[in-house]
Amino acid sequence: MKNSFLQFLKDILKELFSNKVNSLFMFLALTISLIALNTIYSLGLSAKKQVLDSLASVQFGKDAMLIIAGGGRIIGLTTTRTDTLKLEDVEELEKLDFVKLASPMVRGTLEVSYKDFAEKIRVEGVFPNYTVANNWYPKIGRFIDERDFKNMTKVCVLGADIPEKLNKKDIKNILGEKIKIAGEYFEIVGVLEPKPSFGHFRRDERIVIPFTTAQRRVFNKDYIDGVKLLFREGTDMKLAEAKIREILRKRHSLYGIEPDDFRIITPELAISVFTKTLRTINVFLLVIALISLVISGVIIMNLMYANIEEKAPIIALRIALGASPRKIIEHYLIMSFFIASISGFAGWILSLILMEIISLFTPLKPIFSWWIFLLSFSFAGFTAISFTLIPAIKASQIEPAILLKSL
């Protein structure tokens, strides 16, 4: 007993390969648009993963909040005064029962020089609890301690990228060296562990000094630039945010429609700001890819029509020999399914290769996901089969009488 279906498939495949050029174009049209679709989709996945990874490595913490002096949009220039946030505000916030820890800081970009190196670098004046608040510890040496804080000592801890900038290859030797910050000599007591960049913001390019030293000796200001708050576990972020806003507005004498002169950044907000732009770009690109898929569908339809027109006598013969209209439709749908399978697979493999190539030039890393495999096959199948349906129905309507008339 031999399965007639296998013979049926063999017949379809032979027909497919009998017109190589026609089949090749159908295959190419579909494959190219699938490569575009798969690649864009996986780039989107990769970019999203990267953002989430970097957000995770920032270790902002889910029970954490950052308050920055100066009102305005989350990303962009401040539109209000920036000198209103004070240590007294922080003391008030620390009284809230859900606040576990508050770490205020002042910051600025200052001229830093060391031997023949001189550059403007971000300098932060921080509390000793900075390490806990940001989950960021020294790789070598020590961090600023309570004694430094009390005595306003001139010590500093470098971000991981700074030693290299200073041309110090062997970072062990850097401890105890003096570095000039805004005209004053600071002793290097430690180097922070590296943290990944966050967008354009290179987090390892910073120098931290004691808060007291910074406020009195370097910046000479009585306000702070920001405060990182850690909450007790299970704190309702929405309520916490509302309460903190209320307190700060009251203390800053802001009433009615007057805008906040501070910004509150929560982990959700940070993620949403970064993923939103990403999603917009990604949706836009996916729409383009889908349009190209429709175009390839139309190309397939066109070529299928040409194929059917060319094979009309053979289709008429099949009908004369007893093929029902349904068998003819099946015949061409199976044929397009073959094209779809080959294209789906080729589109998938080639998009993986393309991703590898893209990763050589961009920070995006290739991502392997069976979803993309599934995406490739389902879109290939859907496009090929839906656009073959009309030509296939037309083929099934061919009159077998043409076999005799054509003579």
């Binding site: 007993m1 031999k2 006598p313 004369a320 020999l321 007893g322 209209p325 076999l403 008339k405």
Partner: protein, 225 residues
Amino acid sequence: MVDKLVILKNITKTYKTGNIAHQVLKGIDLEVEEKEFLAIMGASGSGKTTLLNIIGLLDKPDSGTYILDGQEVSKLNKKELAYIRNRKIGFVFQAFHLVPWATALENVLMPLLYRGILKKEDEERALQLLTRLGLEKGINAKPSELSGGEQQRVAIVRALITKPKLLLADEPTGNLDSKSSQEVMKIFKELNEEGLTIIMVTHNPEIAKFAQRIKIIKDGVFVEK
């Protein structure tokens, strides 16, 4: 009356070309008995091909009745017609109409593909028939590798593989040289003697001589000799 395989009564068929209607068949009556070998002769444009299309269920008459093997078939739909063609009728065409990318054996087995089941004995029968018609060497050859006579013999085997009751041949020797023509007609004669009903359309009197009965069609009606 089962011994009448084909009964046509007052069959008419009109083709429209633009606004001009052209009546090709003007009331055809025909009865063909089982095991008969009938030749239909006529000049081109006489309507013989249209008649063969209707007998072969490739086209439908405008009016009249057609009873094939005891069944009224003039009102059936495409699927039902395909089913009857597949089981009761074998076709042999002037231009052979073999599928170019398929081997001789695959061409022969094609009608069985549309039945859904292909049995081992079907393949054996195909090989037997091919061997009987002297094609044992060309079983795996493509049509383009075969001579005209060989191609037509493959087409005959394809028509026979379904064990049809009726074999319809449309100018079966029209594309063949005289030697191949004689061979093909000898095969037809043998098959008829074994009990196969054959209706053949031709304009060649030499070929028509092989039939037991000859009907002549002229301007859409049968005429006496």
